[in-house]
Amino acid sequence: MDLNQLRKVAAEVVSRDDVKYLIGWRRGTFGYRVAPYFVEDAAGVDELIFSPLCISNLATYLTLVEKLPVPRGQEPDKRKVALLVKGCDSRAVAQLLVEKGVKREEIVVVGLPCPGMIDRDLLAEKYPETDKAAELRWNGEDFLLVGEGEDIVIPRAEVLAEKCRLCRHPNPVLSDITVGEPVKPWAAADDSGVAEIEAKGAAERWDYWEEQFSKCVRCYSCKSACPLCYCEDCILDRLDPIWVNRAVNFSENTAFHLARAFHLAGRCVECGECERVCPAGIPLGKLNRKLAQTVREEYGFEPGLDPEAEPFQASYKPDDPEEFIL
């Protein structure tokens, strides 16, 4: 990835009168951290990076923005928001367009073909984080940890994030500007995480999820980080009636996670943010990927590939055989 080219494109984009800011990534404050970065003018682009640590999905910020009421007599700021997207992130944008959560004319999409991201925890197990912000690069198939003395080559298989092992769409599915050459998609690995759970018996599966959901502290980082969890009025916040109790226990936690999973069926683009941000290490990706797999296999539908597609859960065909209805 040629960072100079990215920064040049970014500078042009943020300098446009119709662009408010560009959302990208910059180096974090320590270790393998990378922070989402809001660039407001061309002077800010020098800090922009695109590295194997830029795993977070910035599409979340499109719906996360909290707009203050516009004072009487003033016009709302209608400038566009520009953002950098990898393949998976672009699918979230496409799905948001399908759902009209975001309008096409409100955004400028800068596509970045993605050679695959690092799972920070896997990397930190081998090379513990330090108080210095580390630099990681792609190095052919592998990764390179840029050291103060010698650089360390880290084999791809050792630290590649699970979502990237399973990735079928590393190139952005939509963009206004693409920086870098398309990458050659790799053969997606079998989803052993989902298969492992499918292989369990019902009782064993129940025990597995009981253990997982019991760890949940209901910080809602999964729903906060999810680019497609953006209902203005979430059932979890309802107080009258209370659909899901605030009480933290296995029963309520399960109600929360299953409600979220069902609401994401046919919408989840498998960006893996829910699982990445979870402080309890609950394997939410497996849950959401199972539903995505079912929708793909049973209905031949994959969300977030076509911004013009009909939304899966809201589409209807008169010739649907409806074989499951007795």
């Binding site: 974090g28 404050t29 320590f30 270790g31 951290r33 990378v34 922070a35 989402p36 970065y37 809001f38 977070s56 979340t60 996360l64 909290e66 203050l68 925890d121 513990p128 984080e129 330090t130 108080d131 253990e211 760890k215 502290v217 209901r218 910080c219 809602y220 980082s221 906060s224 980080a225 916040d237 107080l239 209370i242 109790n245 605030r246 009480a247 933290v248 226990n249 990445r276 941000v277 402080p279 309890a280 290490g281």
Partner: protein, 337 residues
């Protein structure tokens, strides 16, 4: 304070003895480290650093029943009485947090639920010989061997633990275990002090809080809040997993004709936290909510109780999914002053 020695070969006997008295200690469950009950013979994990969920959760449970009620019932039913509990392996920062939070629960009203539990709890600390990556306790008045809030402090001396009793509660417990303890030999306390000194030297981050409580109100509209809160996802990680955050909500849970009134953790980082029934929200965006989080810890609590409500455990910085770093924010506050 008296010092004794607990040989590591007596460790399982020691924990075995305590396990009969409702012992809780850190356990590792996948990525999650938390305090869990320890039965006799269960391994106790003291190797890892801080637990993901701080031990505040044992004194101030995430959900607790205040009382039960039923339609037509004349009496409110109080929850079952708590029992005595021993927390083993509490890090000094988390123990200090428990001492700080007590200010709140003793403030305008003595909170019977919290204070009863506090009374029933014995805290056995473990000094941090190896501080973690984001520790900064000395900057906010703590230290890797601080005894504040603790009843007993253990220090790993290699072959044995130095066991120092801090309170009468700690002394009484040590007395019960005296068969397993021996007099600390000459030099053991000095060795502990040396370890504590070395630990201080291993801490990477620091910020001088001098002037921050006074500066914060002046920086109310400073652009720094927009900057630092821009990446915030608005989740509850930094508050729920903070050892000094104590905000709660009270809700009724009703099933059929009976229910309970319960108290549960709440987070000032949630939009719903300050949302009025009218729909108006005085903290409408994550900018105001982030500003509140910092102001509460580094200004309001100081005004009220004379101490910063942060113990420098570093959890918020370590666990934030988008690298919002408390030290970075404090440094920006100092720079904007």
């Amino acid at each position: 304070m008296s010092a004794m020695l607990l040989h590591k070969e007596k460790w399982s006997e020691f924990t075995g003895k305590l396990s009969g008295k409702n012992l809780w200690a850190p356990v590792v469950q996948g990525e999650m480290k938390k305090f869990a009950p320890v039965a006799e013979g269960d391994p106790v994990n003291l190797e890892e650093g801080n637990t993901t969920v701080p031990p505040k959760a044992l004194l101030f449970p995430q959900t607790e029943t205040l009382y039960r009620f039923s339609a037509g019932g004349e009496e409110l039913e109080l929850p079952e009485a708590d029992e005595e509990i021993i927390l083993l392996g509490v890090r000094p920062c988390d123990a200090r947090a428990i001492a700080l939070v007590e200010n709140l629960f003793r403030w305008d009203f003595d909170d019977p639920y919290y204070l009863k539990r506090r009374e029933l709890t014995t805290l056995i600390g473990l000094a941090c010989n190896e501080p973690e990556l984001n520790c900064f306790c000395p900057s906010v008045g703590g230290s890797p061997a601080s005894t504040e809030g603790l009843d007993i402090l253990l220090t790993d001396l290699g072959e044995s633990y130095l066991l120092e009793t801090i309170t009468d509660k700690g002394k009484a417990l040590a007395e019960e275990c005296k068969d397993l303890l021996e007099e600390a030999p000459a030099g053991a306390v000095e060795q502990k002090e040396k370890l504590a000194q070395d630990a201080l030297g291993k801490i990477k981050w620091s910020v001088d809080p001098e002037g921050i409580p006074e500066a914060l109100p002046q920086l109310w509209e400073d652009p720094l809040w927009g900057r630092v809160s821009a990446p915030c996802l608005g989740c509850g990680i930094c508050t729920y997993l903070c050892p000094t955050c104590y905000c709660f909500d009270i809700q009724d849970e009703i099933e059929g004709s009976a229910g309970r009134r319960c108290r549960m953790w709440d987070s000032c980082m949630f939009a719903e936290y300050t949302k009025h029934t009218s729909g108006h929200n005085p903290r409408p965006t994550r900018r105001e909510r982030t500003r509140n989080r910092i102001n509460h810890k580094y200004s309001y609590f100081v005004d009220k109780f004379g101490v910063i409500a942060c113990v420098g455990c570093g959890r918020c910085s370590t666990l934030c999914p988008v690298n919002i770093d408390l030290i970075d924010i404090l440094r920006q506050v100092k720079a904007a002053q």
